[in-house]
Amino acid sequence: MAANNPDPKTGEVNLFSPEFAACPQPVFRRLHEQCPVTRAAFTGSPVISRYDDVMWALRHPEIFSSEMEMAVALGTERPMIPQQIDPPAQTAFRKILDPRFSRRRMSEIEPAIRAHANALIDEFIDKGECEFDHEFAIPLPCTAFLSLMGLPREELDLFLELKDGIIRPRVTSDDPDEPTRLRAATGQRIYGYFERMIDERTRAPRDDMIGYLLEAEIEGKKLSRSDILDICFLLLLGGLDTVTSTLGCNIAFLAANPEHRRRIVEKPELIPAAIEELLRWETPVMGVPRVVKQDVSIRGVEIKAGEIAMLLLGAADTDAAAFPNADAVSFDRERNRHIAFGAGPHRCLGSHLARMELTAAMEEWHRRIPDYAIKPGETPRVSPGIREVQYLPIVWEARRESMP
């Protein structure tokens, strides 16, 4: 039961329950009030939930480090760059990468995103229903990745398959090691694909992301081949599920809250503010892990070096001490310092890309399908961790459009 999360006796919070993934805000509220620094059920990891504490941890990578052994979990052989390395090395890579992900650069690929959003909507609009996750939210961010990398649209299916092979390996047996093996195998295919891209561009230079990385220098030295591979791996994984999840959380919320939906349909210029407020309220990447490098005490709770702490971005973003009327979703919120993209040196590299994708998708969707609801009798299903609405059946009144 959600009401027993966190456990009233021990304060332990279950971060994996489906109820929590579907509706985490009441659990966050109880964490703030009862046990702002607590332990996770099953793993015993420290869990931090107040805005100020999460902020402090994000800004102290020397204590809360991103350098962890995630390799097995994600099919990689080495840390992904720059997400899984810390300053000062991380800063040097961000100086190279940030300009490639600036708001100005992202606006260059916006037309491709809008075109793909409309092409996806064309496929199902006359049916009057769709399963939003698979028919819209999953394919759309793949276009952004392909445009960013300068790859042809024909590669879409391949990358969807590779991404799924890492995030959701197709397990066929009860062998507990099978997911790890499948991820490693997919990881090898991903490395192989990018190896070929590097080879091609080394022979014939091109003005695209890998071409840029081949030319880039840190303190007068070119990046190594493995550096470039570790960046590409992150770019593939980083931008797909996160935007997919955010799109799903947004549409699920707006389907269930018609008064909010009507406001953005009547006033589309509110969409950017609505996106920010829904990022705050839903915070689809609800937590980020950090390796504790030295013993530290927060609000009287001792956290030991070597532990893996969970910084609950979603809890921080619903903390009443940081947001007046934190429990109210308001597209008119004037002060919104949400940290759905993290904060400090590891602020999401793709935040400008994500915002562009979300804006384009939400504008096109509501222009063409302004009135919709969750299919009667159905319940959306949300995954724990990154909150992807994996099953989101949406219905609307089908009608012939006069023009697309």
Binding site: D98, R103, E276, E334, R337, A343
Partner: protein, 64 residues
Amino acid sequence: MRVRVDSELCVGHGRCYVLAPSVFGEDERGHCVIANEVVPPDRESQARMGEANCPEGAIEIEEE
């Protein structure tokens, strides 16, 4: 009114120059740059909006 950005704190969220482009600009990395610290009266509300939406608290406003 004067407005300043602490470049040690700014990590390039970009909320300020998106919401208030008449006061805040961006460098190549997408970090905030302020061309003119002195904010004309008709842009004061823009400056406040930038300050209110910076997750890093990197923007400081000095009312005169």
